[in-house]
Assembly symmetry: C2
Homo-oligomer: 179 residues x 2
Amino acid sequence: MPKIMVLLAEGFEESEAIIPIDVWRRAGFEVVTMALHDQLVVSSHRIPVMADVSFDPEAEFDVLFLPGGGVGTENLRNDPRVIDLVIRAQEGHKWLTAICAAPTVLGSAGVLHNKWVTSHPSVKDSEALQGALYREDPVVIDGKLITSRGVGTALTFAYAVAEKFGVDVNALRKAMVVS
Amino acid sequence: MPKIMVLLAEGFEESEAIIPIDVWRRAGFEVVTMALHDQLVVSSHRIPVMADVSFDPEAEFDVLFLPGGGVGTENLRNDPRVIDLVIRAQEGHKWLTAICAAPTVLGSAGVLHNKWVTSHPSVKDSEALQGALYREDPVVIDGKLITSRGVGTALTFAYAVAEKFGVDVNALRKAMVVS
């Protein structure tokens, strides 16, 4: 089962982070939440969540996941340690996943050139996504890069990632009453 | 704008709690999370969330919301203070809302007799729901009682509650990329 590293920055969009963590832990994946600074991280709508670990630039994982949120994404993109982590993940052929505005963090790290992506509609034309190939699907998969659009697509995104690791998501969908 | 009280018990289903809080705070509602015991409450899939306040039996609110989760629901139902709070809320003509297995807490408090409800399918036939009228719709509204079924119906549920207080949810749906 894969190890998924979820980066939590102040202002992260809580549903976009929590829904995938919920799905992936139900699927039996090892999911670790990593804070950029203090381990108690306050989400975009003022929910304080305790991350599992503090930031570790040497952290090992199979999948890196960046939740969105306007402020959360800015905090990720403005942190050189996050940019370094994304570049290192790409060089190590890890999976890169992001939702909402967070695909722009991947763009700022320079790993989206000629890659198919999606994002929150509000950042579609942002400078960070120039050079990427854009689709408006709920989830866009290009090799080991998986991007999605917002809270409303977070479940679909989480299942798509789970399926990439061989999980039959039908039982999860049923338990979670997803039609 | 209404004041919504969200009860957080150990083992609460995180997505079922977080999605509605997210929606309602975006809508401008006053949302308060109240822990049964320690303010740092660990969710069903091991996400520690810091509640806004500790349990206060005299807490005032317009809407009481009970998230589900198997263990979370048991912890709510086995706490006499929660049962008292539900009974007091009903007597005060407050809104009662619950999702997943948590409608059984309302049933245990004796406030569901001859009321239309739904719940997670796994507790449909539970003793606590005997005497209630059951539907399998994603959200069931009977007066000031609103119930729902699980993670997959949490967004629809949250919007339904918001609409009851006059919110035009179309802008929320668009911002959250809900199709």
